[in-house]
């Protein structure tokens, strides 16, 4: 792979006119978005608007049909894409946590750095223990996912992703499957990350979080970005009728 010519002054993630169809159904109809280093971006919108599909395209879990997504200068829409190189840069957390059920919390976090990056075990373990502390799960190192609550599992999933030291984190409706009480513990973890300067892209329905933490909000509907802007203007001065209707329903 050619050396990346990316510099922090350019967008870290840059999507241009992304199209994606599943069979006859066109889910993304030309999505464009620039995310700078250190940004925390929230993508909101009604179900089926393509927002999850979009962030899954960023780390090539879904290949795109046309357009371009560049992550630190690496083009994702490339038949010879080096997925490993891409995924070292991009961490992803899922709605259903998707932890490895046969591994303890600590082993979940250690697996990828050991198997993918081939880092020595004790080094990885030290880092994994720090990450456990960071997501406030001390004492749960040896618990299996089945023994943890949803919120705890989700925090392990975040730590597992961070263990690969990504430059950008994708969060795909990570609180949608959680109880209201445990939503907060996960959001606090993500907020801490954002405040430390981690570049985050979230698909979420948590408007309070979006308003408080995000520095840019995108509203998507039926495969297009209808409107976007910083939270202050977005929530109070939405122009598009579809945005207004959506906001009036959930706020």
């Amino acid at each position: 792979m050619a050396e990346s010519k990316w510099t922090p002054k350019e967008p870290m993630v840059s999507a241009k006119d992304v199209h994606k169809s599943f069979g006859d159904l066109e889910v993304l109809k030309g999505v464009s978005m620039d995310v700078m280093k250190g940004d925390c971006v929230c993508v909101i919108g009604p179900s089926g608007s393509g927002k999850s599909t979009y962030i899954r395209c960023i780390n090539a879990l879904n290949p795109i049909d046309s357009g371009s997504i560049e992550v630190e200068g690496q083009e994702v829409n490339d038949p010879h894409l080096d997925k490993l190189e891409l995924r070292k840069k991009v961490g992803m957390v899922f709605q259903q946590y998707n932890l490895f059920p046969h591994k303890t919390a600590l082993e979940n976090i250690m697996m990828a750095p050991m198997r993918v990056l081939k880092e020595p075990k004790d080094e990885v373990e030290t880092r994994a223990r720090e990450l456990i502390k960071k997501v406030r799960l001390e004492g749960k190192e040896d618990s299996f996912p089945g023994e943890l609550s949803g919120g705890q599992q989700q925090r392990v999933a975040i730590a597992r992703s961070l263990a690969m030291r990504p430059d950008v984190m994708l969060f795909d409706e990570v609180t949608a499957a959680l109880d209201p009480e445990t939503v907060k513990e996960v959001l606090v973890t993500i907020r801490d990350l954002a405040e430390e300067g981690m570049t985050c892209i979230l698909v979420t329905h948590e408007m309070g979080f979006a308003r408080e933490v995000a520095n840019h909000i995108y509203f998507t509907d039926r495969g297009v970005i209808v409107e976007h802007g910083p939270p202050k203007t977005f929530f109070t001065k939405a122009k598009d009728p579809r945005t207004k209707e959506f906001l009036s329903q959930i706020l």
Binding site: N59, L84, R87, K88, F100, P101, H102, M111, V116, F144
Partner: protein, 251 residues
């Protein structure tokens, strides 16, 4: 002690001609039983191991992107699953056995390279292996797509995902069915009698052909030995299942 037991059964055979436990007091017959038992154990252990290896390899090949590979595996499964193992044994030994080369260890007698025991092992392993392929395949299919995606999003390639995530989970799902199939395999080893493999059934039938009064006693022993052998196998498999159980996962 042993002497008095033997005397008791010698007595019993004289007073009660239909209950001649000849293998207890006649050392020649005892040796035949022990030889047969040993052969049965060897057949069982070797076939169990080989059939599991065939099952794992077959299940992996069945996930191959190449169509012809999948067709070959499918053909193999259909053939071995849809025909009686007894006929398979006869076919392997008498039909295929004609075409294998022979050699002459003493420069006098021509001996085929694959003996009847060899053919029994091959035939029974492939018979049980066909079922094992299906058992492992269903286990592999039970691993959720989302778990594999999580693994891939961490940068693991298909092979790493298979080795560290899919197979350990699939194996746990497969164990109860595998347990059943291996029990069947151990019992099916008796059919090797048709190609004169000197296993337990063969030896005991020979004994009661020589001493017709020993027939009932031989049958009793047959049942007892198989109850114990299969019992040990089931005990081991159950212990293994328990050992592999993940806290908080599944039933």
């Amino acid at each position: 002690m042993l002497q008095s037991i033997q005397d008791y059964f010698r007595q019993l055979a004289e007073t009660n001609p239909s209950w001649n436990f000849i293998y207890i007091y006649d050392p020649v017959q005892t040796a035949r039983v022990l030889d047969g038992l040993w052969m049965t154990i060897i057949l069982s252990v070797v076939c169990v191991i080989l059939s599991v290896v065939i099952g794992v390899v077959g299940a992996l090949l069945q996930g191959s992107p190449r169509r012809w590979v999948r067709s070959v595996v499918q053909g193999y499964i259909q053939f071995f699953r849809n025909t009686p193992p007894l006929i398979q044994l006869l076919f392997f030994y008498f039909a295929l056995g004609q075409f294998t080369p022979s050699y002459s260890p003493d420069g006098w007698l021509e001996v085929p390279i694959i003996s009847n025991v060899g053919w029994a092992i091959i035939s029974l392993s492939f018979f049980a292996g066909a079922f094992n392929v299906e058992i492992f395949r269903s286990g592999i299919e039970a691993v959720p797509e989302s778990t594999k995606e999580a693994s891939e999003s961490l940068g693991m390639n298909r092979l790493q995902t298979y080795i560290y995530v899919v197979l350990p989970l699939a194996f746990r799902v497969s164990l109860p069915s595998l347990n059943n199939n291996l029990v069947n395999l151990v019992k099916t080893t008796t059919q090797a009698i048709v190609i004169a493999v000197p296993e337990l059934l063969y030896q005991l039938v020979s004994i009661y052909n020589d001493y017709s009064t020993a027939q009932n006693a031989c049958m009793v022993l047959m049942f007892l030995v198989y109850i114990v052998l299969v019992g040990i196998l089931v005990l081991g498999m159950n212990r293994w299942e328990r050992g592999m159980r993940i806290p908080g996962y599944g039933a």
